[in-house]
């Protein structure tokens, strides 16, 4: 169980894939950080730059969710069971994202 190759390879694949999809979210994160430190707070440019930061949260949430399934698979050795148990987490994360997107 502890040396299962499948979950480890899946985790590596997840990190590489998430990094590929993460180019834009990371760019956005840097722009948001720059805006927070350098743009006049409350200005039009500041508001425009800050909008759209939800893409960072979506990317993090998707990566986290996929990793929980792999972690569950690694611990139990049961992939189909791990996927089945992930639905509650998916519901939780969708609720969090919905609340964040409203703000």
């Amino acid at each position: 169980m502890f040396f299962a190759v499948g979950p480890v390879l899946a985790a590596l694949f997840l990190i590489v894939t998430a990094a590929g999809f993460g180019l834009y979210p990371i760019k956005k994160l840097i722009q948001v950080q720059e805006a927070k430190h350098e743009l006049k707070h409350g200005s039009a440019g500041f508001l425009r730059t800050m909008s759209g930061w939800i893409v960072i949260a979506i990317w993090c949430a998707a990566t986290w969710f996929a990793a929980t399934i792999i972690g569950d698979w690694w611990a139990t050795g049961d992939l189909s069971g791990a996927v089945g148990r992930s639905w509650r987490r998916l519901e939780l994360i969708l609720r969090i994202l919905a609340a964040l997107s409203d703000d």
Binding site: I15, L23, T63, I69
Partner: protein
Amino acid sequence: MTDGVTIAQTDLLCVNCAGQCVFTPETGTLTCQRCASEHSIWVDPDADPSAEQHYHPDLPHTEQPRFTRDRPYQCQTCGGEVVFLGHSLSESCPYCEGALIEKAHTESYEALGVIPFVVGDDLAQINAQTWVDGRWAAPSNLGAVVAQCRVAGIYVPFWTFDSVEAVKYTVRYKVQRGKRTLTRTVSDSMRTEFDDLLAPASPHVTPLIRDGILHDFDPGNLRPFEPAYLAGFAAEFHHQSVKEGLRHNDSDKRLLLRNRIKKHSGKSNIVDVSYVTDTTGIKYRRILLPVWILHYTYQGKPMKVVTCGLRGRTFGERPFSTLKLFGFAALMASAVAGFGFVWGASGIF
């Protein structure tokens, strides 16, 4: 005066040696480039450059003259020909390097105010380089590329706009009732004012760069338009009529108004804002603000870093390194995935 162009030139010469003078930001004086003597700049004590003009769309003085042709001028110091191109307001003679400042064309420029440079070129160059060097995920050679370029001082045309808005709005927002999410609406009205909303009137400064370099604007720092302040610097006329300036500023104003409505409604989870506003009391200033601009090209794409000539605040355009972005993304993905992995392995739920 040549071909209808009124130029300030001879009054910018040194009274001691008749040498060419330029404005020195650090001292706020005209400095002779030949004998280094400094001359204070006289301004009309009765002038009020911070005075605002009421906007009346039907009055002709709110429209700017169109510069459809280049304006040639014969230098009074050396006789060479200088051509004022497009919206250029300040030039230097290519033969004797004398400063040439175009004076007002029409009455519409009488209200022009200017805030002179305070920050010099050396500090601006350092600030621009520091800003570029401090960028995350920037290409490794970006600092070297920028180091080969030099800042140029320019007085950029800006508007300041005031207005009073009587707003009637409707806000749609979500509320949670048990497991159900309901959408509610609330309608209200409010009165809000915009004071000294700065709007760039030149493509040299984008609204985003404006918000990066001009955090505070004090009309008390405005000086009456005096050619001596522009000596040695580039400067531009306004590229737009007042009406065009208002139209360009409209998207910024709408964004700020929506933000104020959200705050006024006191609701969270807002999904939509609609409003109508009655705008009155529009006032404007036509002013020139000092900036240092460093133009550079990275992989064929022109970019700029702009330093405010008042306080040295710097902001600009920058490229990203895809490789570094991938590295940062991989690091963050590893951290998030590690957290998720442990979460899933622990069987919390």
